[in-house]
Symmetry: C2
Subunit: 483 residues, 2 copies
């Protein structure tokens, strides 16, 4: 049992983070990239020590956890690369233009600078990829922000060990002391969130907790941005043509996706919309029944799943198709619309609902029933191009990632990724928690006007000493500036 | 007297905006650019009609108001250009990579899409550039969002006429009905801000009003982003070397800047830090005394200025150097630090404070005394390079724009511009209200995964039909994608 962080320890963590901020923020991008790579290497090197702890604390299997370590270190290396390439700083240079109308234009050079210490509330379901060494931490460090992680109580020892590995790697690499800190305890996290030294917060967790923390962050005397990933139903819509062409594959793929990681993914497909008369009940039921039972992350989540399942099964119009292994429920669009709020409440765990629609009007009504989601998926064939052309804009309006003939579990880490959708799936839908642009959440622009080369930050100097990518007078270039 | 918008009219405006959102959002960027250019042309063509109304309602002089019209139409054209060039959409394409580790990577294509109807609270001090046809409206339209402007009561007739000109131009150009709407009345604005159809809000005005509206926006059942520009002191720091080299020019430039537009700029320099023994008192006092008195925007602002001035003049340690024309006050860093909250309270209007510092330690303490500002300025010479190297990071930490040997009034509209600073100068310091990136406030990313070319939005198609600028596998290009 790891005790809560004491008030004195919290004060120390906050003071250390605040003290580290100027030096970390002023570090050359290439130097910071080196520190981040050192963390990535240290994580990989410590996998043999960390993974067994994670297995014991989260009940997740070894291959999955080893994959998570690789994902986390790979993510850190991606940020290091983009820091060196320069795009993470979004440098924009407009040289002076004495002829500009209606008034002459000064020399302006814009760069993104770090906000300051960031508080990260770790998630339970990805002990590496959305926890101490996860995407929020990686993107904040890349931005140049010190990070204080509020550990998730689901894997306390892993959190401590992971932080130790990272802090030691940062120390050896030469990053300022206080670059990374770890705190334990719910109330401690709330106290930290209210502290004026904290300049932004990231959160992955439940809707009620996320909403409560969001309100604290935005109603502080000095409001700060709060990026919360709260929950998502991730509906999947299947056309008749797709059922005809590959119904059995869809059934198998669906069950595999909603039971992946014991259904404990924020991108779990919570509903599968099939045309009435799809003929896949047997296939789906067999696949769900064949899923091996596996322990959930912890007792609290298991209890939440049990009570959520009880609740769902009692909703009028919801029938049970399979209840061993994974739970598969069934309803119709008519019944869903009649009891929308009851049926469209997320149940975290290995359960999903097949919803049968009768004709395209019902399919459209089903799409309309949704609020914001992280993802929305369409399974269709090339003969559906017209229908897809109609449905994709509707899915786009309701989700941050739109998938075609795939499954939403699995979130690739890349430049183009977007993990975040309209409320309530996230608070702050204009930002992502995965992918290169996640760093933007922790950066603010500063524009330097008519400032001599000698005193400009290196990344803004005419000579572009690090050869980074910059937008100069409208065009992206790695070249020098003449003025 | 223009009456408040009625509840029925407000409902119509909201319904029209919501109805326009899908078509406006789906419009091809080049088509939208055409609509925006039509608005710019119509504004320029209507200047002879609009400027006299603005003169009557705001008391501002004709050249300034004509400049504002040109600035506003130029700003619209800038957004149209960047829409056509494509960077406004931030398209990022990562093609599939079957060899990616730890797992194969799907094809992902990210694009920024509009949030939906935006509510803009117009400002009083720029009847064009920060009002109905101002930067918030321009950037939201460029993003593809319908806009409802809550008119500022300081120029009600101008607001109506401007909206008429813009709405007619949009109609003739073919933009969806409901692209732009106008509402009147404080309570009406609050009601609109709470409406679920409004997806974001922009505001320029006072700190108390901005804070109150911000709290409403972020504590709604569905919180929405609120971008508020609230107020700023814009300190100017002058080194001894700069005084020695061009003290008289600094004195003249300073008085010109803080009295520009009768001191009614959010970027007005509210304090000038001079080394003790600067010898510029006579010069400053003469320049301030020589400023012609001019009417303020309206009676409410005039009363606010009078009472603010009374308050400031009574603060212990604050002396009056000039009180005819413009008001020039004087104090010292020691006195400022002793009564910081009283002296560092913004007073909107033609007043500024000269603060004398005794040595570099006092100068550093003075910088440390500030919270967030839109701008911070340093006047220095090349012999000050070391000192500037120390001060610039401190100014960067406290401001969104850092100026060298210039004056903060005048905000160029360009790619590199940033108009926004740490709280309390803005709520949402990671965003700007001026410049190309202002549109980002009203856009959210969507990533399409493995979606066939036939159903992708045109801007994401392999062939890049409009030849826009896109980041493909890490590099910015206007070319095609091969997959």
């Amino acid at each position: 049992m790891i005790p809560d962080t004491t008030p004195a320890e919290l004060e120390q963590a906050l003071a250390d983070a605040a003290a580290a901020a100027p030096a970390l923020g002023a570090s050359e991008p290439a130097v910071r990239a080196g520190w981040i790579r050192a963390v990535a290497d240290a994580l990989d090197a410590a996998a043999d020590e960390l993974v067994p702890i994670a297995m014991r604390e989260s009940s997740l299997p070894e291959p999955r956890l080893r994959g998570e370590v690789a994902r986390s270190s790979g993510q850190l290396r991606m940020f290091a690369e983009v820091l060196e390439e320069g795009s993470l700083l979004e440098v924009v240079i407009d040289t002076a233009d004495a002829e500009a109308k209606p008034v002459p234009r000064p020399d302006l050079r814009r760069v993104l600078v770090p906000l300051g210490p960031v508080l990260v509330f770790a998630a339970s379901n990805f002990p590496f990829a959305f926890s101490v060494c996860g995407g929020d931490t990686a993107s904040a460090l890349a931005a140049g922000c010190p990070v204080i992680v509020k550990a998730h109580p689901g894997h306390p020892e892993l959190s401590v060990k992971t932080a130790e590995v990272m802090i030691e790697a940062l120390r050896v690499a030469g990053s300022p002391a206080g670059t990374l800190g770890l705190i334990q305890g719910f109330d401690v996290g709330v106290t930290a969130l209210k502290d004026p030294r904290i300049t932004a917060a990231g959160f992955t967790g439940s809707v009620p907790a996320g909403k409560a923390l969001h309100e604290i962050a935005v109603t502080r005397p000095e409001p700060i941005p709060f990026y919360g990933e709260l929950g998502s139903l991730n509906p999947v819509f299947v056309t008749q043509a797709a059922v005809d062409a590959r119904g059995k594959d869809i059934a198998t793929g669906y069950v595999g996706s909603f039971t992946l990681g014991v259904g404990q993914f924020c991108t779990k497909p919570g509903l599968l919309f099939l045309p009435a008369g799809h003929g896949l009940q047997e296939q789906l039921t067999e696949a769900a029944g064949g899923v091996a039972e596996a322990p959930m992350l912890n007792d609290r989540i298991k209890e939440g799943f049990s009570s959520g399942l009880d609740r769902l099964q009692k909703v009028e119009g919801v029938r049970v198709w399979a209840s061993a292994g994974a739970t598969l429920l069934q309803t119709t669009v008519t019944e869903l619309l009649a009891r929308r709020d009851e049926i469209l409440e997320e149940c975290f765990g290995p359960v999903s609902i097949v919803v049968e629609y009768d004709g395209l009007d019902e399919l459209r009504s089903a799409v309309d029933a949704f609020e914001g989601n992280l993802t929305a998926t369409l399974h269709a064939e090339s003969s559906d191009t017209e229908l897809a052309g109609e449905l994709l804009p509707l899915l786009t309006a309701r989700a941050g990632r739109v998938l075609w003939n795939g499954w939403p579990t699995g979130v690739a880490v890349s430049w183009a990724q977007h993990h975040g959708g309209p409320f309530p799936s996230t608070v702050g839908s204009i930002h992502t928690s995965v992918g290169v642009t996640a760093a933007r959440r922790f950066q603010r622009p500063v524009a330097y006007q008519d400032t001599p080369d000698a005193v400009l930050p290196a990344v803004l100097k005419d000579s572009n000493p690090a050869g980074i990518s910059r937008r100069v007078n409208g065009s992206v270039t790695t070249g020098e500036v003449s003025r």
